[in-house]
């Protein structure tokens, strides 16, 4: 590659430099970004995944006021000395009452937050297998299972690289309009992968740009302290100003009974003509207690992190302050972050989010494979492959195919580990990472069959998830479909659909690997995840105008 300093100026120069930038900004964090995209895609169905992973819980949501009353009874009994109570009433997607409280004297080494879920019908804590459920994917998506705050910094840096990759990608894609509908899998090689990568990228461009930028905005207080410190003395003042709902007034250290919460909920619902998303009680049982009600995120696009709120005195129940209409600026930030979280989406839109996000996952995957395809195509036919190429290729297969096996392993562990086993949620997580690690090792050891084997393993393990469900619970497809239990059935069916897709890709990879035996140049196999509906396929093909023998590289492009 020519030294950058000597590049000629002009449009060709810009496209070339942006192409270089796109390639490297995409590759450096490519595997992290793939994992973030995949887990983010799954996180759109966070409560549904959690529901599937706790099949012993079968309950219906109850009205908010009634639920909050039940929560208050429970918390008064079990958490009367807590400094803060958080109550999330049931919703359509999450039928349980979720409680969180901060115990004032946490055990050493613990943060002192206790999570409990109540059955709205009984007001009792539910007993079900301990699991992180969908929260695992949600948290991994932005914390990468790494200690605070390093995980989210790493994820944010990856996000910034993604933003640069998107912008440079758009600049360098000179035929963005002429090639809009173009996909030529039969051309094979890097052309086919390029077309696929372009289609997934361009068609999903509004989403990809939005999700990347809004992801950074979600963490902007952490990422850009300069803006805060320019005009505030400390970040606390800033968050009190912007996130007024979360302001905490100090305790007065005189006991006083807490006002009944249910009438406050009813009052807020009446006032907003909407739903209550969360009830926060600061210093319950103290004279200085406050009760803050925040409107449900599902009520509006901008309500994700910045929703209208009402704060009441915790003893008298009098309204202290509230905000129905946030400022235009804060609403704008709210819309941007709300679009990322997607909490406002109805089921149809939620599925669209899922599918386009899957396309984004495919975009990253095809990009990674394309990097290899381009270099392989440029390489001399008989030459021994560079170690760096082998490494990238192994990382590709181990991550792109391996992560699907890991996801399946997570669900397998959920069903196969005993429900009362202590620490089982830790083992579920370990299963995920162990399988990812094993996939990477396998990919590095088995150069020539890694894609075909790992994709086949992904298809098989995912297909077996509904089977294992049937063998270990009574809420399998045979029961859930007739009952119209769309959470359980939808989960199982999505696993099957995913398995079909991966099986098809595995077949393509296998067919491509066999081609050299026929004496033809190795064909371009498919080896990447794709959108559920829009699958890119690669048929056996010539390599175009290349002459001479070509050393097959197994089943990778």
């Amino acid at each position: 590659m020519k030294a950058k300093g000597e590049k000629a100026q002009g449009e060709e120069g810009l496209r070339q430099s942006m192409s270089w930038l796109h390639t490297w900004s995409g590759l450096i964090f490519g595997w992290v970004l793939f994992a973030m995209f995949l887990t983010g895609t799954l996180a759109f169905f966070r409560p549904e995944i959690t529901s599937w992973m706790q099949p012993e819980i079968q309950t219906r949501p109850a009205p908010a006021a009634q639920s909050v009353a039940a929560a208050q009874r429970y918390l008064s009994e079990h958490a009367s000395d807590a400094t803060r109570w958080f109550i999330t009433p049931p919703s359509d997607r999450e039928p349980l009452i979720q409680l969180l409280y901060q115990s004032p004297k946490p055990k050493p080494g613990e943060r002192g937050f206790v999570r409990v879920k109540l059955d709205p019908a009984t007001g009792e804590a539910v007993t079900a297998r301990q699991t992180r459920g969908g929260d695992f994917f949600y948290r991994f998506h932005f914390e990468l299972e790494t200690a605070f705050p390093w995980g989210r910094w790493l994820a944010s840096i990856a996000g910034m690289f993604m933003l640069v990759a998107i912008i440079s990608g758009v600049i360098t894609h000179k035929k963005i309009f002429t090639d809009f509908f173009t996909f030529r899998p039969r051309k094979g090689g890097q052309r086919a992968w390029m077309d696929g990568h372009n289609a997934l990228s361009v068609l999903g461009l509004p989403f990809h740009l939005m999700i990347t930028f809004s992801g950074l905005v979600l963490f902007m207080a952490m990422l850009m302290p300069a803006g805060i410190l320019a005009v505030y003395e400390n970040p606390r003042q800033y968050s009190d100003d912007v996130f007024k709902a979360f302001k905490i007034a100090p305790a007065r250290n005189e006991p006083a009974p807490l006002v009944p919460l249910a009438p406050l909920v009813a009052q807020a619902q009446e006032h907003w003509q909407g739903r209550v998303g969360r009830v926060t009680v600061n210093h319950p049982g103290d004279a200085g207690a406050t009760v803050t009600l925040v409107r449900d995120a599902a009520d509006g696009v901008s309500y994700g992190r910045l929703a209208p709120y009402m704060r009441f005195d915790g003893v008298t129940g009098a309204l202290q302050e509230g905000e129905d209409e946030l400022s235009a600026t804060v609403r704008t930030a709210g819309v941007i972050t709300g679009l990322h979280l997607g909490l406002f989406a109805e089921p149809l839109l939620r599925w669209l989010y899922f599918l386009v996000s899957l396309a984004g996952t495919g975009m990253v995957g095809t990009g990674l494979v394309l990097w290899i395809a381009k270099r392989r195509q440029k390489a001399r036919p008989g030459a021994r492959e560079a170690f760096s190429l082998r490494l990238v290729d192994a990382l590709n297969a181990g991550t792109v195919a391996g992560l699907f096996i890991s996801v399946a392993a997570f669900f397998w562990a959920n069903r196969l580990l005993p429900a009362d086993m202590p620490g089982r949620q830790l083992w579920e997580t370990r299963a995920f990472f162990a399988v990812w690690g094993l996939s990477l090792v396998y990919a590095f050891l088995f150069q020539h069959r890694k894609w075909r084997d790992l994709l086949a393993a992904a298809a098989a393990t995912l297909a077996l998830v509904p089977v294992i469900n049937a063998l270990t619970t009574s809420r399998h497809l045979g029961v859930s479909l007739p009952a119209g239990d769309w959470v359980m059935a939808g989960f199982d069916l999505t696993c099957l659909a995913g398995a079909l897709l991966l099986a098809w890709m595995a077949r393509k990879a296998a067919r491509a690997a066999k081609a050299p035996a026929k004496g033809r140049p190795a064909a371009r196999p498919v080896a990447k995840p794709a959108v559920q509906q829009a699958v890119q396929s690669v048929a056996q093909s010539d390599m175009g105008p290349r002459q001479g023998a070509y050393e097959p590289r197994g089943d990778t492009p």
Partner: protein, 107 residues
């Protein structure tokens, strides 16, 4: 009505696709005639705009716009997918969608 929005998106993209030399030639084995280009492209854009209106009719303008962007992405990807393997079927489907859309809109 949401189905109408999707059909309009697919039909619109099909028309825009046909209005491009490359894809027209692939399908009809002759060059795209001048007099077909403008109507095809015009129809394409109008169909996409109507798709937005259909979505907004169900969901309101702000929510509907977000939904519309999602519909466009999926419709577009589906078209590319079909176009590659069954170009005639893909574009015929486009025509059918164009016809179905007004029917679905009033249902």
């Amino acid at each position: 009505m949401t189905l109408a929005a999707f059909c309009l998106a697919y039909a619109g993209f099909s028309a825009l696709c046909l209005g491009m030399d490359r894809h027209y030639e692939d399908l009809f084995d002759r060059a795209l005639p001048r007099r077909h280009r403008l109507p095809l492209r015009l129809f394409g854009w109008i169909a996409l705009a109507l798709s937005l209106c259909a979505s907004a009719a169900v969901w309101g303008w702000s929510y509907g716009t977000v939904e519309w962007i999602g519909i466009l992405s999926i419709a577009g990807l589906l078209l590319i997918w079909f176009l590659t393997f069954r170009p005639r079927a893909a574009l015929t489907a486009g025509g059918l969608c164009a016809l179905a859309a007004p029917v679905l809109a009033v249902l």
